[in-house]
């Protein structure tokens, strides 16, 4: 679809349902690169690798003792890291299905984990209100650095090329700029559940528990756009950019996928969107390459692959 004619249509046709998880699915992420695979982690303490094209489960990674709350895939798809209730970050080898490393150090459950661009540093944000940066190139058990500015649990994390953005329950989005050597704190006033920066690193989408998704200017802290209409009061919900960053999509607590136009912040049709999941949509992720594909993970135990009918 030509982007000049308006925002790309949100994929709304169910392609596959990945339903092997027992219990809520907390996170579902695309692999890097061409993103042919999907990793999902859920309450059933497993991480599962899916082929979204065929809808089949390829592998199940079971070593967690508690729920899996976040996942991140390394840039070369050879490893991924998962974290959750067991206060350790598990670093997995994708092929063998074994944990390469288990990184203890957090005092509470770890909500979010992210690699940096070349997977040499792993950042993990935890209930203990710290973000710990782990060096994966050495076997050092101590974190490189602990970002303990947050006053409450860190729920969202993004590691960019030269900055780290954290979203915390204390309502702040903190941007640690490595290059500038400064910490920019944006106060959003409500617990931040997801931070998704745009490709140009100029803006970020902040999902907060007051049922707002804000497009914030990273440099000035100004709010560029405010997307609302969905329901988000108590669950961690992620919103992300649609393909080409022309839209913003978000699953809400009722199980419907909302989409807004990025520029005028108007909800796209259908409005209100139909309910596609039984329960809260915990994660939504747009396919990084394909325009017409996104996945949603829900507390109803399914991951659904949506496509635009071609």
């Amino acid at each position: 679809m030509a982007p000049s004619r308006g925002p790309a249509a949100t994929p709304r046709t169910l392609h596959k349902t990945l339903a092997n998880h027992k219990g809520p699915v907390h996170v579902a992420r695309y692999a890097k690169g061409t993103a042919k695979y999907v990793l999902s982690g859920g309450q059933d303490r497993t991480v599962k690798l899916w082929n979204p094209e065929l809808g089949t489960e390829i592998k199940s990674y079971a070593a967690h003792g508690y729920e899996v709350l976040s996942l991140t895939v390394a840039h070369d798809n050879s490893r991924f890291a998962s974290c959750g209730g067991d206060r350790q970050v598990f670093l997995w080898d994708v092929v063998t299905g074994q944990t390469i490393r288990r990184i203890p150090g957090h005092m509470g459950k770890i909500f979010t984990v992210e690699f940096n661009e070349d997977a040499s540093v792993l950042a993990s944000g935890s209930y203990d209100s710290t973000v710990r940066l782990w060096d994966l190139k050495s076997q050092n058990r101590q974190p490189i650095q602990v970002l303990d500015e947050a006053r409450d649990a860190v729920q969202a994390l993004h590691v960019g090329g030269s900055y780290i953005v954290t979203g915390s329950v204390d309502g702040h989005v903190r941007t640690y700029d490595l290059r500038m050597g400064e910490l920019r704190t944006d106060f959003l006033g409500h617990p931040v559940t997801a931070i998704v920066p745009s490709q140009d690193n100029q803006t970020y989408l902040a999902t907060t528990l007051d049922a707002h998704i804000r497009l914030m200017d990273m440099s000035t802290g100004k709010m560029l756009n405010d997307f609302q209409g969905h329901t988000s009061t108590s669950y961690r919900i992620r919103s992300c950019f649609g393909h080409g960053e022309s839209t913003v999509v978000c699953g809400d607590e009722n199980g419907s996928v909302w989409a807004w136009d990025l520029v005028d912040a108007a909800p796209l049709q259908p409005n209100p969107p139909p309910k596609v999941h039984e329960r809260v949509i915990t994660w939504i992720e747009q396919h990084p390459v394909e325009a017409g594909e996104l996945i949603t993970a829900s507390a109803d135990g399914t991951v659904k692959v949506w496509r635009t009918p071609s």
Partner: protein, 933 residues
Amino acid sequence: MTSRLKRKLNDLGVDTASSKANESFCLIGTPLPPLEKSKDTGEFVPLWKQDVRDEKGRKRLHGAFTGGFSAGYFNSVGSKEGWTPATFVSSRSERAKKKAARPEDFMDEEDLAELRESRKLVDEHEEMDFGGTAAEKRKQAGEADEQDPITAALAASLAPAPTDSVGARILKKMGWRVGQGIGPRLTYAQRKAQDAGIMDPSKEVEGDEEDLEEAKKHTYPRRDTPVLIARRKDNFHGLGYSPGLGLNESVGHGAGGDMGRSRPQISAGFGLGALNDADEDDIDVYDGGIGPSARSRVAYDNLLGEDDHHISIGSRNSTRLGARGPVSVCAVIPICFSSNRHAFDKRVPPGITQTFNDGTPVLKGFVLSDKPVSEDRWFPLPDVPPGWQPNSKRVWEQGKNKENEGATADRMSGPRQPAQSHAAWKASQLSADERGTMLGEAPLPAKTRSIFEFLSQKDRDRLQAFRATRSEGAPQPSPAARPPSPGPPPPAPGGVQIPRLHPSVAKAALTGFQPFTADPLKQSRYTTFLAFQADASSEGLGFGPLPGQSTEEFNKELQDYAKSATVFKPLSGAMADRFRTGAVVELGPNVVEGLHQPTSYTDSTDPDSETKEEKEEDPKLSAVRMGMFGRLTRETVPWQPARLLCKRFGVKEPEVDTTAQAGAASSDFEFATTEAQAKRDAGVPAGPAPAMITAGTEGGDAVVEEPKNKGPRNLATVGLGEDETQGTDTLTYQRPAMDVFKAIFASDDEDSDDEGEGEEENESTPPLALPDVLMPPPPNPVVTPAPPPNAPAEKIDLATFKPTFVPRSERVSGKDKASEKSKEKKRDKEKKRPKAALMSFDVEDDGSMPSFDPTSTHKEKKHRDGERKKKRRKEKQDDEEDDSMWVEKPAPEVVKSLPVAAVPVDGNEGGVDGTGMDAAGPQRGRKRAIDFM
């Protein structure tokens, strides 16, 4: 095995005769401890464990039987001094002297020890048998008459030789014979005396006179003393009690009275045969106590030993004494011991034997009681008043009151004192020190020192000032409202006591954790209480006891509130830094809790809300509510990423301003000034020089001159309270960093390098107002500065040297566009110059600065130096157009008019550096090699 058990076992079919059935499982006594500790000497020890030692524990082999042979000096022939052959000595002459050799002469130590061991002569455990052998005893006992002497002799010869005990054998060896006494022999007279001493008169030696004479010639063995044999006590009688005796006889009384009654009184009517003994049945049991010889004790003698339980002392269902009913054993017999014989005698006239009402005589030594045994009396239960409720608490309260009453009653006699709490009572007591002073004792040398004595005078002054300001700010409680120092006021008995809290504590507790949120009523009372306590001017608590709440309960509630207020007040001081609390306590105007926020940043980001963090929150919240994200909600602080993190991210480690600020504390010369700093300085009017310049040059004057500096805090003044002038002398007077001197006095080659570095530093901390500058500057080639060819730096007295800076803003880029302006300012500066108090360049130049250009005046040189510095400054601050702040040291016209020639320097071809070089090149005062090329 009892017969019953046997029968039972037989019934069960168990053979009672078998050894198993007779096996005893009883263990009697305590088993001996295991023999683990006693070493088994015969136990096998492997060869390598065997260890040969002599008696003294030495590992020298000695003796053939103890494992080895040691001879001579360490098993060598000879002695310590060596081996000397023995000389032959004939023993012929000595032969007479030689004694007969005993075996011991040839024995060594071990043999002797063995011999000694074998000389164990006697068995110590044998019994002494003074009485001789059994046969002798028998002989003594007169058994001999049963046997004729022949048989006796035969038996004696056939029987094994009698074994005497050791003692008997010793005695026999010493001449003692069986039947004699022990001791030296006696003369006849002595023996007579001994015989007289012995009470047995039958053994008196009788004899004639001639016998006596004969007897006097000899000595005699002593008489044998019979061994006193103490009978074993195998009954349960009391000591000294002989079973047959009555009470009277046993104590020696009544013996005379009973003298005539040696025989038991036999029942009348039946005669006893001469051969018949008086049997128990024949005794007249009905022999009443008439006459002194009424009763014998025979019938009871046996009873006493065997049937103690027959004596029943008192019984509940007893009838009255004297009622001679058919009740069998019913008499009350109080015991009257013979110890109080008089009482006994008083009651019972001797000779009168009492009987029970069934006719049984009363035991000797007992009397019948006059009074009947008192029955247990039963009282009716008290009537429970209607509507009475059991209340255990009431009992306690009563007890409390009683205690108090008792205490007050005790004090009634003395001066009346109000009831005190324990603490008050304790405080009212004299302390040991007070007693000591009253007694005139010398005080102990170790005096308790206040913590303030450890503080310096400066700190004490600060504390004093702080306290003064606090007491001004805080509402001063009226002296009447202030609690008396020794303790809480004496409570009015039964009245409401309101515990006093310090207003600050109450205020803090109001803002702190609220402990009674679960109970809204209690919470409201709590807050009211705190508000009352916090506001000393308010009178009246604002609430009274709840309906149904006693005064004591109410007092307790208030005390609970006071206690929780002290407990739940928020943390203060250093602890508050470590914990984040929801509400922030205001402890005073001067103490600002939380991490120190460098002023420059609060200045640059939130110029209006730099004072309090908690004040910042509210605008932020309201801004969020209004959707005004941006300036109000953004907060930027410097953050130092770890070096490794930067490496991993492939980012050059930023020069974080916190370190720059920290550096400013140590050195006032700040090369890499942040824009914030510059902005702040820009706010300073052009009149006085900027702080970072004047601080070094003018010392304390700078601070006095700049009242604006007082507002924002910076790290240099942290810990000095509000008074910034305090300690400035020590803070400001510091030797500047070495690169300062290099920058000024080093050669121009190095200068240009420094410029490059400065550039780099500067760009790594870009201005905050332009955050879109995200890309780092191209890394500058690092050029090691060549040693200055004619660096005069070593000639400078670094300790006293105080350089001044002139920014470059006027020169490099702004030279053409703002030359007029700068000229004006420079002229101003020139006018001001003589006024500057400590322009030490003049001094230094006069004294130690070598002059390289003989033609140039001091002034010109000064200006040139200033120009160079100005240039550098300009490069740093090229983003901003703050010309107003760089006002020092204008270049003279002469310098200005010099032609500008671009002189590229090797290794410094970078664009920025190049331009800097271009501008700086011609104005250098000192000659370089390049100038001669």
